[in-house]
């Protein structure tokens, strides 16, 4: 057992740092770069140009051939530089499905723009009546000559407002015996006539998720991935791929660092004792650091198993549960650190979804703390709720 990084791994860390100094320099760091389509794509394309956009992919399709430990170092350094985490839709979700189950023609057509960011993918899984019970989805695709005609709706579609394409689970055989059967995996151009996107504004005024409606949308049958009615197999494959940095450990460490700086900032407190002199607040920080350390080493152990060919398996449920619990705790501590300046709703002045607020008051960091706290409730719900994750542990690991 040796938990030090090797010289080669340290050299790799320096290489990543050097890249970040150029591609994501100091003036972009410290939440100074707003998340917009253009800002995100700018970062995505820089990674693509360096050949680092899809580290976990097989090298023949554009992967880096890094070990899991290298991927861990890369994720850690990117988080330390406040770079946007890479969205999962292109890289962890649809890409692996296409290179694993797609035709040669589909690989050629879709993989290059999926890597480069020329296609922004969104995920069409959940429906108004099918959340954690995904297989009960009802959106229909009926074969009509060389096309499918799609009718139905998808919901919780993250960043659909930015997306060029959507990968969808659709029901192609409503009479199949089990509800997991008769589902197909279809790629749909968001510009197709008959698609409308309705924003869903979440607590705190964010527009991240949407409802997507399909009304007689004509989709070429060439866009079917794999075989008709086998979509559930591909969907399950995709869900097991959705695990890179699933715990968000690096982002949580970075957030704790920021929180400690804020809590010790003399300008904020003047002659009053700072939050770092409040034993109760310090205790919460310390507890979170200790819990995060336990989570980080659990992730490292899981990576090591993956590296030696063991695969991660249902242990990823643990990472998801603990990682999201800690993210929520940290967002709560930020809100508490803001004190009464957590109250004013002044996010993105002039945001069309937000009620009118004409003045910005209080310290800069406080502006988003409440909105962020509310936003983070999503983490224990999405990607299979934490209760579903516990079901998975009970069933797959404990055999209950």
């Amino acid at each position: 057992m040796d938990l030090k990084f090797s010289d080669r791994e340290e050299a790799f860390r320096q290489e990543v740092k050097a890249f970040l100094d150029e591609a994501w320099p100091a003036e972009k760091r410290g939440s100074k770069t707003e998340f917009t389509r253009d800002n995100y794509l700018d970062w995505h394309r820089k990674l693509h140009a360096r050949g680092w956009i899809a580290p976990a992919w097989p090298e023949e399709y554009g992967g880096t051939g890094w070990t899991p430990t290298q991927r861990y170092i890369f994720d850690k350094e990117c988080a330390a530089a406040d770079a946007f985490p890479i969205l999962p839709f292109n890289i962890s979700m649809v890409g692996p499905v296409i290179y694993t189950f797609g035709s040669d023609e589909q690989k050629e057509r879709f993989l290059p723009p999926t890597l480069s960011g020329d296609i922004w993918w969104c995920q069409g899984y959940s429906e108004p009546g099918a959340g954690s019970d995904l297989a009960s989805l009802r959106t229909r695709a009926v074969r009509d000559g060389d096309d499918y005609i799609v009718n139905g709706s998808k919901t919780w579609t993250t960043l659909a407002q930015y997306a060029d394409w959507i990968f969808c689970l659709v029901r192609t055989d409503p009479n199949a015996g089990k509800k997991q059967q008769g589902i197909s995996f279809l790629l749909i151009d968001m510009k197709s006539p008959g698609i409308t996107v309705r924003p869903i504004i979440t607590l705190g005024g964010d527009h991240e998720v949407n409802e997507v409606f399909f009304e007689n949308v004509r989709v070429p049958a060439d866009n079917l991935v794999g075989q008709e009615n086998q979509g559930w197999t591909y969907a399950k494959f995709l869900l097991t791929h959705e695990r890179s940095n699933i715990a968000g450990v690096h982002q949580s460490w970075r957030a704790l660092d920021r929180l400690k700086q804020i809590a010790a900032d003399k300008d904020l407190y003047g002659d009053a004792p700072s939050l770092m002199e409040d034993a109760d607040f310090v205790r919460r920080i310390a507890e979170t650091e200790i819990d995060l350390t336990a989570l980080e080493f659990t992730e490292l152990r899981a990576l090591a198993r993956e590296e030696s060919g063991g695969g991660m398996g249902p242990e990823s449920s643990l990472l998801k549960i603990r990682g999201t619990e800690i993210q929520q705790r940290i967002s709560h501590m930020f809100l508490d650190a803001a004190g009464t300046y957590g109250l004013p709703f002044q996010r993105e002045l002039g945001h069309k979804e937000a009620p009118p607020s004409n003045s910005q008051v209080g310290p800069d960091f406080a502006v988003e703390t409440a909105a962020r706290y509310f936003n983070m409730r999503k983490t224990t719900i999405y990607g299979g709720t934490n209760e579903i994750q516990r079901n998975i542990i009970a069933k797959m690991i404990l055999g209950l």
């Binding site: 057992m1 938990l3 770092m276 200790i290 643990l318 009970a394 404990l398």
Partner: protein
Amino acid sequence: MNFDLTDEQEMIRESLSRFLRDRYDFEARGKIIRSEAGWNPEVWGQLAELGLMAVPFAEAHGGLDGGPTDIMVVMEELGRALVVEPYLPTVVLAGSILQAVGGTVAEELIPQIAGGELVMGLAYAEPRSRYDLFHVETTAEKTGDAYALAGHKSVVLAAPLAGRLIVSARTDGGTRDRDGIGLFLVDPQADGVTVKDYRTIDGFAAGDVILDKAPATLIGTQGEGLALLEMAVDRGIIACAAEMTGLAKRMTELTVDYTRQREQFGVPLSKQQVLQHTMADMFMAGEEMKSMAVRATALADADPEERAKAAAMAKVFIGKTGKFVGEAAVQLHGGMGITEEMAIGHYFMHATMLDTLFGNRDYHQRRYEMLTGLRKDAA
């Protein structure tokens, strides 16, 4: 990074686990803890034959040249079987100090430990010290080359079994000074030493040691005992983290088995989702505990500050999660969980005592805050 065990470490794990399965089941353990002696010297001898007592020591002293990782492997297995024989005080606590001081005392005693002939105890706590290792009221008075100790040492694990004790005592300074503390070798059979022996609630032989002009030999440098003591206790904490991992995993297994067998309202308890989720939480606690034990083990030989931080973090974490697993396990066993008839309650009692031993969660939380500079005051 590499979390793999060596082939030798895997062999230790396998042979120890097999031995304990065959010879140290719940019934066998029950006989031992109810016996007059409070331990089974025959088992001790067999564990020594497996090489367990020799694990961390140098070959020159009859050891196997192992390290903290080997100790981790051993402690996890001892935890799984809830072994009460005095491995922690003898090999980990006293052993670490003897190894660190070296010289003639190490040459004399380590081979005896490694051979399974000598049990030792570390007397560091006092009635008023709580968990502060530097709080030492016991005095050491020098006359010629010899010392005479006077004072009261509390809850010394293995004291009634030990052939030698290592005792912290003060040659200089005030009760709570960090300087002026020495470590001394004491023969508990000697005049001036009284061992008030008892069992801990979780079945371990222990005692308070009353010293009244007890003859003693200084080991290490006079006045610099605290650093050695802190090192040994941190090693002890790190070993307990591995032990707690063994306890937690076993408690989870026992609870899974029990809820599968026990039917209520016509279905096995294990089919109740609310219980499944508790067991999923128990599983997660065990996995994370293991991670903390592994991390602390990897830092057991680091510089004192890093080691201390790692030990404090591990202690906070195992205190919290170990008690959670224990309490949940008892709850899921229902009424049977609070009887002495089933193993689960015994695991719970030991898990609870491991939180208290060497300083509880609150104590090490504050220690971590001080070590990291999160907290500045000394309160």
